[in-house]
Symmetry: C2
Subunit: 525 residues, 2 copies
């Protein structure tokens, strides 16, 4: 058995079922090995950023890793931004990167580059295979590393000669390390804080915003009167009718500070201390107010479930409040970010997976969907735009039983647009809504906050933030990649098109023409 065959057999033995792949010549033996393993699904992506984003979406929804297959340093480079998002999301992900054969590296051939330096920036675990005899164990170790709580990007670099040489064998699965236990004293201290009667909030994050931990955290809040917050960009937030209501921290620091004002205690559960997304002149980076003490019950890598169970035992029983089932009426009239949100809220199906990269146009989405049937909400955890369309592909492959709704800003959509082809290729049940405001509206806002000068003076602002010259036509772009597409310019149109797209299986795209929330009104329909 050659090294590549041992990699594939070990991945399979360790429960990996999908490989999102952009192979090249140095990975040909891995393709051949996949050819002999029908149980591993090889999903073609037309760009590595699609492969890594899809693997992120898969890991978030499956709770176990998919693998990527990337070609040398440039292939890894193209996938880095979405690996950055996966790292921030705590997603389990096995990142396979092919390299030149070991004796070939000395020649500094055209595609040679420092893979390890690049991979180090996004990987929680990084290993370079050096021999066929070790490759099975290396692969099993990569899967275990990927499954280390809360989830990691585990990068395994596979030189071509390790792949093609004989003498390899598969390795059995390796148990992932158990999450770090939380000390009894920590739990006792937090319980005392919660019973103090002082203004307290729980800040949930990482794996604590869905499943058992979310419910346990909500019970703790209900039992003590603490507020229930979560981080700004959760990896997978479970919400909707019948589920606990969690308040997300705002994106802008002044908003987040207002939310935290008056708190004497902030208890972190799977979250890190909240900080400003960007720095602004003269503003502090930390968001918690002066005089607010920050306590960590459990970091993202800790045994959060156990810590919450122990904490619950020290508190009185309580009934958690949950979101009331309620839907807005379908909108009519002008199509805006607000009416798009209303339509989504009116139609969101039970069990939907919502991928949210709507940016400024998505401002109204959380409120409009709060009482919709239960669903998962996946956000831009690392801030690297171009995540949404790939993430939707991975989520749909992880959960073919659930509809995916991908809410995508036009500027961000253009980063990894070819993911639409993968939606079509795999027949994925994804309804993509492109909120087309023909602008980098977030930059219009930030410019005015950071460097206010009159708009008329500036050629750079005028040229760099404007996507309307020429106007991108997402209907044509989607059709060009095999995804059925329509355009909506009124609330009625959009509602009808969304209903149709949700009712039909397979991928759809709706271009929703909306005005930009910030900056000049450039769109003339």
């Amino acid at each position: 058995m050659n090294g590549a065959e041992a990699v594939v057999a070990t991945l399979r033995a360790c429960g990996v079922e999908v490989v999102f792949a952009n192979p090249g010549t140095s990975e040909m033996h891995l393709v051949a090995a996949l050819d002999r393993e029908p149980a591993l699904r090889a999903v073609p992506c037309l760009f590595e950023g699609v492969a890594t984003g899809a693997a992120d979406g898969y890991g978030r929804m499956a709770g176990r890793p998919a693998a990527t297959l990337l070609h040398l340093g440039p292939g890894l480079a193209n996938g880095l931004a979405n690996l950055h998002n996966a790292r921030r999301a705590g997603t389990p992900l096995v990142n396979l990167v092919g390299d030149h054969a070991i004796p070939h590296k000395q020649f500094d051939a055209p595609l040679e580059s420092d893979i390890d330096a690049m991979a180090g920036t996004v990987s929680g675990w990084l290993r370079r295979c050096t021999a066929p005899a070790a490759v099975g164990a290396d692969t099993a170790a990569a899967v275990a590393a990927a499954r280390t709580a809360p989830g990691r990007v585990a990068t395994l670099v596979l030189p071509a000669d390790v792949s093609w040489s004989p003498g390899a064998s598969p390795a059995p699965p390796v148990a992932a390390p158990t999450p770090t236990p939380v000390a009894d004293d920590t739990v006792t201290d937090v319980a005392a804080v919660l019973r103090s009667g002082e203004a307290t909030a729980l800040l949930l994050g990482g794996p604590a915003v869905h499943g058992t931990s979310l419910r346990a955290g909500a019970r703790v809040a209900a039992a003590t009167g603490a507020r229930l917050l979560c981080e700004t960009f959760p990896a997978r937030l479970e919400r909707g009718a019948g589920l606990p209501v969690v308040e997300r921290l705002g994106y802008l620091p002044e908003g987040a500070r207002a939310q935290l004002q008056g708190l004497r205690h902030l208890v972190l559960i799977g979250a890190r201390e909240p900080v400003s997304f960007f720095a602004y002149p003269g503003q502090p980076g930390r968001l918690a107010p002066d005089g607010c003490r920050v306590h960590t019950l459990a970091g993202p890598d800790a045994d959060i479930e156990d810590a919450l169970a122990l904490l619950g035992d020290l508190l009185p029983p309580a009934t958690t409040g949950t979101a009331t089932p309620t839907r807005p009426e379908p909108p009519s009239g002008e199509l805006t970010g607000e009416t798009v949100a209303t339509a989504v809220g009116s139609l969101l199906p039970e069990g939907a997976i919502v991928v949210d990269e709507a940016n400024t146009s998505g401002l109204w989405l959380p409120a409009a969907t709060a009482g919709a049937p239960r669903h998962d909400w996946l956000t831009l955890t690392g801030g690297a735009i171009g995540q949404g369309l790939p993430l939707a592909a991975g989520a749909a492959l992880a959960r073919p039983d659930r509809p995916v709704v991908c809410l995508e800003a036009d500027g961000s959509a253009m980063y990894t647009l070819s993911a639409l082809w993968t939606h079509a290729r795999e027949g994925l049940d994804i309804t993509t809504v492109v909120l087309a405001n023909h602008s980098y509206a977030v930059l219009e806002m930030e410019y005015d906050r950071l460097a206010p000068i009159p708009l008329t003076t500036g050629h750079a602002r005028r040229d760099l933030f404007d996507l309307s010259r020429p106007r991108l036509d997402f209907v044509r772009l989607a059709l060009g990649m095999g995804v059925p597409a329509t355009r909506a310019t009124t609330g009625e149109d959009f509602t009808a098109q969304l209903a149709t797209a949700l009712a039909e299986p397979g991928p759809h795209l709706i271009e929703a023409r909306v005005p930009a929330l910030f900056g000049p009104q450039r769109l003339v329909s």
Copy 2:
């Protein structure tokens, strides 16, 4: 003056005229500074890989750097693959990367990552600004570093607070270091080799394949009977009727070895010793035959012009043979890679800049255009696909007086397709031909070379190399970004469409449906 204004003023003072930009919040003061400097053109790109590829194209054709403007680590990550190509091309390029404000970095905010580690993989020079007082000098140093022979990627990391803080001033230009002089003994030794009567070839590369050095190298070959070769993927090869004929080394190692067979001496002029692009089991990485001595007259960073002048003085005068003006007849019948090449050869305008990322479908292009009017040929120097469309944008901006013909494989086109929008936005005179074989044909070939197993057994090969399910529609994709587009399925169609596109100003795209050179015949029209 704040730091951002000093950066912009210094760039301008140092002769930088264009910035290919994807800014974010941390670069807002740089946008504001550009707003106050109308002489610096800010070109919007919808993805950082477009910005870096365009800066590469600009640098190759202008001979002086453009700047990029990238947003933090993820923005840099998205631009890395084309920076890799620029590094391999020896392109002068000032790579500006914004970072969080210095006091903000401790908070590990969501977009924080190790910019320096990533940048180090592609940069010949890398500096992080630490104070407004230094930023002018840092910028001037970056431009000088970019202009260091043959040209470098010079990365300057600009923290947001350095940009927004006062106390900065512009710096005057700094002279780039002069190229490394070549020792007289080296020239004498090479002259002796050339006069030895033994089988010798010159291998030109880097900056020696255009301009004065190309002509001087050709005279040396003519004077001594040496063969005139150049590296496989030249950054900018000047060729066509009336210019020296240079034989490019082949891509496949067996082909390149056949070209070099029998040589006793290989003299490197601006080139590095040729090595196999990829490793193959049991094959050596070096391409020069056993018994062939490799001599370096001048490395890429040496004073190549001076070395060739000194060498010429030691040799008898000679008249260089040049390519005869000749064009193929326009093709008819089935459209194939060969007939596309024939049509291009029959119509290529005088002074064209040809961007060649046609990959397997481009096999016939060099022969078909050898006698066309003089032109420049820009190739995929670093092997990182997704270069062509951005490179064309930069080349067109550097030389608005010349038509650009971009020959692009479909798989590669999908990597950075949004460059088409920049073609439209800037009204660039670029004719893009997408050679649509609906396949990663090069991988079909390499699979059979590396891991031959019967095609019918393999789901991975069938799924990963096939771009025909669904078939990409480049006409719709181009129209969706504002570029007029047509489709050709016969030689006559294609010739007529190419003639029209070349005759009209502004961008055009032609989808040329061609059969794949390797792999199963999947395309059913």
